[in-house]
C-alpha cells in the first residue's frame, strides 16, 4: 500500500496478506528459533523491545526476519491519550519499520499514560463521540507519519466508563471505518472483557466488519474468581478456541498469533498452540467453503444482552 493511499481511508481497506499462523518472538526462545526450522509461519515482536541501539535482540530479529514474515506490535503508541503524540517514538517506530519491513505495524486501542508519564499498561477509553474523533485524528496522523496504515487491537478491560455512548465493538469498528486502519482482533481479550463486563462475545464479533480484520490474537488468561485477568501465562482455553472458530467462520483467512508472555513454556508448546489455531482455521474454512457465514453462532458463551464495556 503506498503512502498516498493513507489519505483515503477507503483506499486503505485492502486487507494485508494472510501470513498463516505465528507466535510472539520472546527472548526465552531466541536460541530455539534460530537453531532450525519451526512449525510456525511468522513472528510478532514487541516494537519497543527493538528500539535499541545494538545487542542480541536486534541481531536475532535481523536473522529471524531473513527467514520469516514479521509484524511489529507496539505497546506504547498511546493512541487514546490526551497527551500529544510522541514524535520521537514515531521516529523510532518509523525507522524500525523501514529496517525490518514488517507485514504490518500494530498497537492497541487504549491509552498508556498522561502528563508525560507512562503506566506501561493498556488503559481503557470512554467510548464517546469525542473520544472517537480524538482517536481517529491521531490514527490518521500516525498513519501519515509511518506512511502505512496500522492495525489497532481491542484490549482486555476491567472497568468501563458509565458515560460511554456506544459499545466497544462499535467504537472499534468506527475507528477502523473512519481512519482506514485495520483491526487486530484479540479473541481472548473479547472473551475476558465479555466476562468482566457481562456481554456476549459473539455480539462483539458480529459487529466487526470482516474486511477490517487483519489479524487475530489468541492467548491464555487467569480466572481470579471475581474477574478474568489477561495474563498471557496459560494455554488458550477451550471457550476461547470456540470463539476463535466462530471468528474464522465470520472473518475468513486471517493471520493468527499465539501470545505467551509470562511463565513462558518451551517453544514446542507454543508451536502446538499455533498448530491448533491452524487446524481450526483450516477445518472451519473447509467446512464453510461455498457457504457465506452470516454471523458467529459458536458455543463460546450463552447468549447475553448486547451491551458492552
Amino acid at each position: 500500500m503506498s503512502p498516498r493511499d493513507i489519505a483515503d481511508p477507503q483506499a486503505a481497506r485492502e486487507r494485508p496478506p494472510f501470513l498463516g499462523h505465528g507466535v510472539g518472538l520472546r527472548r526465552d526462545h531466541f536460541d530455539r528459533v534460530l537453531s532450525g526450522p519451526t512449525g510456525v509461519d511468522w513472528f510478532e515482536v514487541i516494537s519497543e523491545n527493538f528500539m535499541v541501539e545494538g545487542g542480541r535482540p536486534l541481531d536475532v530479529l535481523t536473522r529471524v526476519r531473513e527467514r520469516y514474515p514479521v509484524v511489529l506490535h507496539g505497546v506504547s503508541l498511546s493512541i487514546g491519550s490526551t497527551d500529544p503524540l510522541d514524535e520521537a517514538y514515531l521516529d523510532r517506530l518509523h525507522a524500525l519499520a523501514r529496517r525490518f519491513e514488517p507485514a504490518w505495524v500494530s498497537d492497541h486501542l487504549c491509552w498508556t499514560g498522561v502528563g508525560g508519564r507512562n503506566a506501561h499498561d493498556l488503559l481503557p477509553l470512554p467510548y464517546t463521540e469525542q473520544a472517537l474523533d480524538h482517536v481517529v485524528r491521531r490514527v490518521l496522523r500516525v498513519q501519515e507519519r509511518l506512511g502505512r496504515p496500522i492495525a489497532l487491537e481491542n484490549v482486555s478491560s476491567y472497568v468501563a466508563y458509565r458515560r460511554s455512548e456506544m459499545p466497544e465493538w462499535e467504537f472499534l469498528a468506527e475507528v477502523a471505518r473512519r481512519s482506514g486502519c485495520g483491526i487486530l482482533l484479540d479473541i481472548n481479550n473479547i472473551f475476558v472483557s465479555s466476562r468482566n463486563h457481562g456481554f456476549d462475545p459473539r455480539t462483539y464479533l458480529n459487529h466487526i466488519p470482516p474486511a477490517t480484520v487483519w489479524q487475530f490474537h489468541l492467548a491464555g488468561h487467569s480466572n481470579k474468581g471475581t474477574h478474568l485477568l489477561d495474563t498471557h501465562d496459560h494455554a488458550v482455553i477451550d471457550e476461547v478456541w470456540g470463539l476463535y472458530r466462530g471468528a474464522v467462520a465470520r472473518f475468513g483467512a486471517v493471520s493468527s498469533l499465539i501470545e505467551w508472555d509470562d511463565r513462558i513454556p518451551p517453544f514446542e508448546r507454543l508451536e502446538n498452540e499455533s498448530q491448533r489455531a491452524r487446524a481450526i482455521h483450516d477445518e472451519t474454512l473447509e467446512r464453510s467453503a461455498g457457504r457465506r457465514p452470516a454471523g458467529v453462532a459458536g458455543s463460546a458463551r450463552a447468549a447475553g444482552p448486547e451491551t458492552g464495556p
Binding site: G55, S81, T82, G116, V159, H197
Partner: protein
C-alpha cells in the same frame, strides 16, 4: 465540564492515573481526593462501572496492582543484585519511593531504572546499606550495556600490523558497550557472592539476560566482612574500600570483572586519548620500565581477549 468533551477525557485520564498510581491504593486515594474537595461522594461509582461482585474501586485496583507490579518486575530484572541484597520487602519500598519520584517517562521500560542509581544514593536505605549505590551502579551498567551499540572488536592482526618502532604512539578506542566504574565498597566480590547464593554456587549461571558472564579475575585481599541479615541471608556485605570494575559486552553477553587501581587508571588514560607510551610511563613509576611494559602487555592482551578494544590509530 461537558460530558464526553475533550476536557472531560483529559480529566478522566488524569483522575485514572492518580488513582492507579497512588502508593496507598485506590480507596485511600479517593478518600484523599474527597477530603480535598476534588471528588464528591459516589463520584467514582457514577464515573466507572461496577457491581456487587466487583465494585468500581476494586476494578480500578486491578489496574493499580498491575501498574506497580509490572514496574517492580522490570526494576527487579534490571537490578537483580540490589533486590537480592535488600530482600523483597526493602526492594518493594525502594521501588515505591522511586516511582513516586521517577515515574516512567519513556515509551520503553528499558529506561525505567535509569535514575535509580542516583536515587538510592540519597535514599534512607543507603544509610543502613552504605554499599547500595555502588551495587546499583554495577547492576545498571550491566543492564545498560545489554543493548548498547554494536562494534566489531579490534583484531590481533590489526594490532600486530602496527610498526614496532611506533607502537608506543598508538592510541586505542573502546567499543561502546564498555564502562569503567569506581566504587567506595567492594561490590564486585559482593555481586558474585550474591550470584552464587542465588544460582547454587555456579557463577556461569549469572549474567544479564540469562547469559553467562561475571568474572572477578583480579585478585584482591579478602575484605573485612560481616554476615548480612537482609534478603541475601548469610552473604557477607562488602567492606568499605575503594575498588574498580570494568563492564563490557562480548558476543552479546554482558560481563564484568574487578580491576586494580592501575588497570582502571590505564583504561581511563586510554579512553581520554592518551598513548600506550603514556600508560607505560604511568605504570613505570616505582617499578621500572621493563616491568611496566610487561604489565601493559598483559593488560592489552586481556582487553583484546575480552573484545573491549575497538580500534587502534597512530597520530
Amino acid at each position: 465540564m461537558k460530558p464526553g468533551g475533550m476536557i472531560d477525557l483529559r480529566q478522566a485520564q488524569e483522575l485514572f492515573w492518580t488513582l492507579i498510581t497512588a502508593p496507598e491504593g485506590v480507596r485511600p486515594a479517593i478518600e484523599d481526593l474527597e477530603r480535598r474537595g476534588v471528588l464528591k461522594g459516589r463520584a467514582i461509582d457514577e464515573m466507572f462501572t461496577g457491581d456487587g461482585t466487583l465494585p468500581a474501586v476494586e476494578r480500578l485496583d486491578i489496574y493499580a496492582n498491575m501498574y506497580f507490579y509490572r514496574l517492580l518486575d522490570c526494576l527487579a530484572e534490571d537490578y537483580p543484585k540490589v533486590r537480592a541484597a535488600l530482600g523483597p520487602a526493602h526492594f518493594h519500598n525502594l521501588v515505591t519511593d522511586y516511582l513516586l519520584r521517577h515515574p516512567s517517562e519513556h515509551p520503553s521500560l528499558r529506561h525505567l531504572g535509569r535514575h535509580l542509581t542516583r536515587f538510592v544514593a540519597s535514599h534512607p536505605l543507603a544509610v543502613r546499606f552504605p554499599w547500595l549505590a555502588d551495587l546499583s551502579r554495577l547492576d545498571w551498567a550491566r543492564a545498560d550495556l545489554f543493548d548498547a551499540p554494536d562494534a566489531p572488536p579490534l583484531s590481533r592482526d590489526a594490532l600486530a600490523a602496527l610498526p614496532q618502532e611506533r607502537a608506543g604512539e598508538a592510541r586505542f578506542t573502546m567499543v561502546p558497550a564498555f564502562v569503567v566504574l569506581r566504587f567506595d565498597h567492594e561490590v564486585v566480590r559482593y555481586w558474585r557472592a550474591l550470584d552464587e547464593a542465588e544460582s547454587g554456587g555456579d557463577p556461569d549461571d549469572a549474567a544479564h539476560g540469562r547469559a553467562t558472564g561475571n568474572a572477578a579475575r583480579e585478585g584482591a585481599e579478602v575484605p573485612d566482612t560481616h554476615d548480612h541479615e537482609e534478603g541475601a541471608g548469610r552473604v557477607a556485605t562488602p567492606a568499605r574500600r575503594q575498588s574498580w570494575a570494568r563492564v563490557w559486552r562480548k558476543d552479546f553477553v554482558v560481563h564484568h570483572c574487578s580491576l586494580d587501581e592501575e588497570e582502571a587508571q590505564s583504561l581511563e588514560l586510554l579512553r581520554s586519548g592518551e598513548s600506550i607510551a603514556r600508560v607505560c610511563q604511568r605504570l613505570a613509576a616505582g617499578r621500572g620500565v621493563p616491568k611496566a611494559t610487561e604489565r601493559a602487555g598483559r593488560m592489552i592482551q586481556s582487553w583484546l581477549d575480552d573484545g573491549i578494544l575497538a580500534g587502534v590509530t597512530l597520530p
